[in-house]
């Protein structure tokens, strides 16, 4: 009798433990799933794809420390480090807690040649290969932290006012942001100097956003996942030899359906156009 009571107690406790673990697991998963959804975040140079970055980042802060204490960030007068670009997400930042990020309008990325933040990463969340050229030298111009977007309606250059603040601020002057000249039809005698962001060169450092003179910047950096569209692989540029390569082995497929019973000419000559 005592034995069966013990067994029953054992079964109940086990069931209770398993049940509570399942409850905890669901709450925990739900919370984790919510907090990892923060797509509007700019990551350090060399950061791997956001989804993988959240997995890989071990939240050690070595990148942020290297950023703040780099030689070029030490105030020459006081000898103290200024605020670095990279912040470590705190509670209330709406970014996965403990991960590094930056806000261009506070401190943009100054694109240091020696990229102090990337080589210190121990986990592989910041990929040194993605910011190294063929000679295996660090090249900050290869980083793709985001892409700058111009909002034409609030950019005063599109109004006809002469402003090239973002163009001048860009570390890749005349490469990542170019000026397009257009005639101002309204006045008939002035030119528009329109900033155009070049996707192939923009690193997403945010210096343009920082420099923008409008109340809320008319040029701003968004993560690549957000700022870029995707045409889809079924679009092939027939005029581009390299792109055409993708379909050189494609097989010709003839679609057969009800309509294929008649020739196109039959259909056009039937007189029944609608």
């Amino acid at each position: 009798m005592a034995n069966s009571n013990n067994r029953r107690k054992f079964m109940t406790t086990t069931l209770q433990s398993v049940g509570l673990t399942a409850l905890g697991g669901m709450l925990w998963s739900g919370y984790t799933h919510e907090v990892k959804a923060s797509p509007l975040v700019l990551r350090p140079p060399g950061a791997i794809k956001e989804e993988d970055f959240l997995t890989a980042c071990i939240k050690c802060g070595l990148c942020a420390e290297a950023c703040q204490n780099r030689d070029t960030n030490i105030d020459k007068e006081t000898g103290e480090a200024r605020e670095g670009t990279l912040k470590m997400a705190k509670g209330g930042d709406h970014t996965l807690i403990g991960t590094p990020y930056f806000i261009p309008t506070e401190v943009p990325c100054y694109m240091c040649e020696e990229i102090p933040c990337v080589p210190v990463c121990p986990s592989g969340a910041l990929d040194i290969a993605s910011v190294s050229n063929e000679k295996e030298e660090l090249d900050i111009n290869m980083s793709r932290m985001g892409l700058a977007i111009v909002h034409k309606e609030s950019c005063i250059a599109f109004w006809g006012i002469q402003c090239d603040a973002c163009y001048r601020a860009c570390p890749l002057l005349d490469v990542a942001i170019t000026l397009e000249y257009q005639k101002n039809e309204r006045t008939g005698k002035h030119a528009f100097l329109l900033p155009v962001v070049q996707d192939s060169a923009c690193t997403g450092c945010g210096l343009c956003e920082m420099a923008c003179v409008t109340e809320k910047p008319a040029i701003f950096v968004l993560p690549n996942e957000i700022s870029k569209g995707r045409a889809g692989s079924h679009y092939v540029k027939g005029w581009d030899e390299k792109d055409q390569e993708r379909v050189k082995d494609a097989k010709k497929i003839k679609t057969v359906n009800e309509r294929s019973e008649k020739e196109a000419s039959d259909y056009l000559n039937s007189g029944d156009l609608y």
Binding site: G25, I58, K59, L62, G91, G98
Partner: protein, 267 residues
């Protein structure tokens, strides 16, 4: 003063370690940089949190060699020498929960303790395993998104933000909720170190001959189930859940408890 020796030593160690981490960011020191997740000692030796490392590995991500080596060094150190010393000599949350525990005693809250049936001391092992499962399912180190330990440490180094609320929650839970609730029942990192540190050579030893059964040690011990031999037999405390905090040695008036080295060779 005698009965504060190890307590003061621990506070000095904890604060020094935190200050070194703080200085690495604020003043560019390179004695101890990074955070517990992954650190660099003296600018060269990698260190990494074993549980964080396990969580990231559970997601299937191939971690950098520095982290794996760092976790190996930490595991080896606590396995061979320190035991579960991380919890009482390094972890900043220990200061919070110790304060809560001290207040509990001062306010006589322990006498009113409710019996929390479902919250047992082995809950932490369930949480530890659960953390790895959630990590694997969601492809993200699950404990790291809410760990009060690293939230507090990063708070000290980089600024707290709303993170202080988490630390406050732990304090209130330990003060008004369950006695030793966080460190002794829930923390999966403490669970990990309990398993790792089980074989370490630094141990507290009990001398039954000297013991007068005053039970002061059992009152202060945050894991008092490990002191089952007190006033019974003269053996070492070999339970992995002992944090080697030395508080029992401090409060013992009879020198019945001392730190000693476990000798595996002597049978």
């Amino acid at each position: 003063m005698k009965n504060l020796k190890y307590l003061l030593l621990r506070r000095v160690t904890q604060i020094t370690i935190l200050f070194l981490y703080f200085g690495a960011n604020a003043y560019g020191w390179n004695m101890l940089s990074g955070t517990f997740g992954s650190s660099v000692l003296m600018g060269i030796i990698p260190l990494a949190d074993p549980y964080t490392t396990l969580q990231v590995l559970a997601t299937g991500f191939v971690l950098g060699a520095d982290v794996l080596l760092g976790a190996g060094i930490i595991i080896l150190f606590y396995m061979v020498i320190g035991g579960r010393a991380f919890c009482s000599w390094v972890c900043p949350i220990n200061m919070v929960t110790d304060l809560a525990n001290w207040l509990r005693r001062k306010l006589n809250l322990d006498k009113e303790e409710v019996n929390y049936r479902f919250l047992k001391r082995n809950t932490r092992y369930w949480i530890m395993v659960l953390g790895l499962i959630v990590s694997a399912v969601l492809s993200i180190a699950a404990f790291e998104v809410l760990s009060p330990i690293t939230i507090m440490q990063r708070g000290i180094i980089f600024g707290f933000g709303m993170g202080f609320a988490v630390v406050l929650a732990i304090f209130l839970f330990d003060l008004f909720g369950v006695k030793n609730g966080w460190c002794g029942h829930l923390c999966p990192l403490g669970a990990t170190y309990s398993i790792i540190g089980k074989t370490s050579i630094i141990r507290v030893e009990h001398d039954h001959e000297a013991c007068t059964a005053c039970m002061k040690c059992k009152v202060v011990c945050p894991e008092n189930q490990v002191l089952h031999m007190v006033n019974k037999e003269s053996i070492m405390i070999t339970d992995g859940e002992c944090t080697n905090c030395g508080r029992c040695i401090d409060v013992c008036d009879d020198d019945a408890l001392t730190f000693n080295i476990r000798n595996y060779l002597k049978k």
